[in-house]
């Protein structure tokens, strides 16, 4: 494509011509990129600075922010509920990320063949993906409603005690994780499927000649060869898990009463819900901004750790 650069007019007077072109192009470039410039200056850079400032202030929206130095942060770190929210967030992530990743990889491997009904299988797995959390609430309620859900009916028929499911402080997070995996797995499965289809088939053929079975091939070829995709999936789902809001807001009653969103005894209170509650229910915007920044720094550290660790296990061709 290099030779197309040399239009005949350009050869005659390259310097002048070029500078003029650059100028007009530069103007067009800046003009066309303007929406993002506004976005960045106002809604990203400006907001970041404001948010950092708020986190060092007392701010209730109605009155101008009052600088209080590190007060919000010291209060935050001395607040047992904050540590509980942090613990819940980590607990959720530690259960969710590996479970979803492993199950999605298994499903994608099953799907990575010329199967009949591929589209139907994909539709089935995408149905939860395309549903809003509101829809998922009513879908899971059919099973986990404490009074007339099918799960309790099953337990009582088996002669076991009915459970209180999402109202049970012990069960609420594992159950939320299970539902989240069920909802998100189709999406991750398709990402894995794309990764699997990039693995050259001759590698498998060579392994077959060496007498490797299906399980060996999966463990020794598939897993290392798609480790790049796996890494991406793990990083993306960790980030989204730490920001999980919608599911917990909807499923633990936050939509009716924000203070209820933490579940029984704050057992499903995650950082995002804590932030929402402090900021938008109690109008403690400064304190909420401090939570946001702690979350930001935490995610940043976590991503750095993951990127450093990837060198140990991600295999690039």
């Amino acid at each position: 494509m290099g030779n197309t650069e040399l239009a005949p007019t350009e050869v005659k007077n390259p310097v002048r011509r070029r500078r003029k072109r650059l100028n007009s192009d530069g103007k067009w470039g800046l003009l066309m990129v303007a929406p993002y410039l506004v976005h960045f200056i106002v809604f990203v850079l400006g907001s970041l600075i404001a948010s950092l400032y708020f986190s060092f202030s007392e701010y209730d929206i109605l009155n101008p922010p009052k600088w209080t130095g590190l007060d919000n942060y010291t209060k935050l770190f001395n607040e047992p509920i904050f540590w509980k929210a942090l613990g819940n967030t980590l607990y959720f992530a530690v259960l969710f990320v590996p479970l979803q990743t492993i199950l999605a990889l298994i499903l994608a491997s099953a799907l990575n063949q010329k199967l009949r009904g591929l589209k139907l299988f994909r539709l089935a797995h995408f149905l939860p993906v395309i549903s809003s959390w509101t829809v998922i609430l009513y879908v899971s309620d059919a099973f986990f409603n404490t009074r007339f859900g099918l799960a309790n009916d099953f337990l009582t028929r088996m002669g076991l005690d009915p459970q209180t499911w999402l109202q049970d402080p012990q069960l609420v997070i594992p159950l939320l994780v299970l539902i989240a995996v069920w909802k998100g797995i189709g999406y991750i499965m398709v990402i894995f499927l794309a990764g699997l289809q990039n693995v050259p088939s001759d590698v498998y053929e060579a392994a077959e000649i060496d007498g490797a079975g299906t399980f060996r091939k999966f463990l020794n070829i598939t897993v290392p060869l798609i480790s790049g995709t796996t890494f991406l999936v793990v990083v993306l789902s960790t980030i989204s898990t730490f920001q999980a809001f919608e599911q917990i807001y909807v499923m633990t009653g936050g939509a009716q009463d924000a203070t209820a969103a933490g579940g029984p005894n704050n057992s499903s209170l995650v950082l995002m819900i804590y932030l929402y509650r402090e900021g938008f229910s109690f109008m403690r915007m400064g304190y909420a901004s401090a939570i946001a920044w702690v979350l930001f720094v935490l995610l940043f550290i976590l991503t750095i750790v993951q990127v450093t660790l990837q060198k140990k296990w991600v295999h690039y061709e």
């Binding site: 299906t214 919608e246 929402y276």
Partner: protein
């Protein structure tokens, strides 16, 4: 041969079981939406509605401002899709094809901002929209999409980079300016990417909960997902209508998926490409 047959059989079994796990909860929800209140709350629960109460679906429309919720969601979604496509593609064209000062730095910024969690920005955004007197209106929900979101820029830029330079060179000779080249040549050539981004923006906006929960206070301004939630606790004895309402809210997105499945899959894959 028999080995690969065995593998296929196992795959079919795995896929069928997994598909059933995905679908059965929806089926039981559809059944729930067709029950009478007495049956809905019966203990032990009954799977199959008897009698089938189709009228639940017409009752939905009498549930508070349900049709208002639909039109609110439709406005937000349609405006977001239009704005997202226009702004992301225009910005992406500039990044892909025009030399302008600080282009590369700015593109690194785009990629970098994808890492900033939305939480850090949401409180200042609330303050901005409050100062613009846009709180409790639908405007904040779609306006921000008109300002080119990073994911869309990234997606469109990839598509534009794949177009050979020859096309724009000949257009330049014909006297087209960069905007005309973008509008007349690049947009028509990248329809599949536009479809992908449209489908993804549609899904995100139609299902969105966090922003409406923060920016909206009056019930009549609610969008569907939070509107339906607010109906939930309102009337006793109408849970089966609310379930029907939730399923109705799924229909538009299901239709989009059925017509544009290819683009859903493309978009999901592009999440993994980087």
């Amino acid at each position: 041969m028999s080995h690969s047959k065995l593998r296929k059989t196992v795959s079919y079994i795995v896929m069928t079981i997994s598909s059933l796990i995905m679908l059965l909860p929806f089926l039981s929800t559809v059944f729930n939406s067709l029950k009478t209140y007495a049956q809905f709350t019966s203990i032990p629960p009954k799977w199959i509605p008897n009698p089938v109460q189709w009228s639940n679906y017409s009752e939905v429309w009498k549930l508070g401002p349900f049709s208002q919720y639909i039109s609110n969601s439709a406005i937000v979604t349609v405006l977001s899709v239009i704005g997202g496509l226009l702004s992301c593609s225009m910005v992406a064209y500039a990044f892909a094809r025009i030399e302008f000062p600080f282009r590369n730095t700015l593109f690194m910024v785009v990629l970098g901002t994808m890492m900033i969690p939305a939480v850090v920005l949401i409180i200042p955004q609330f303050v901005i929209f409050q100062n613009l007197a846009m709180l409790d209106t639908l405007t904040p929900l779609w306006l921000i999409e008109w300002l080119a979101q990073p994911f869309g820029i990234f997606l469109m830029r990839q598509a534009f980079l794949a177009i050979p330079k020859d096309y724009e060179e000949s257009a330049k000779l014909d006297g087209c300016n960069p905007f005309q080249i973008y509008w007349r040549i690049f947009i028509p050539m990248c329809k599949p990417t536009f479809a992908t981004l449209a489908v993804f923006t549609f899904m995100t906006k139609w299902n969105e909960i966090l922003s409406p929960a923060i920016f909206l206070t009056s019930k009549e301004n609610y969008t569907l997902p939070i509107g339906i939630l607010s109906l939930g606790g309102q009337y006793n004895g109408s849970e089966q209508y609310v379930v029907a309402a939730a399923l109705l809210s799924l229909i538009p997105i299901l239709l989009v998926f059925l017509f544009a499945e290819k683009y859903f899959v493309q978009g999901s894959n592009s999440a993994g490409v980087k």
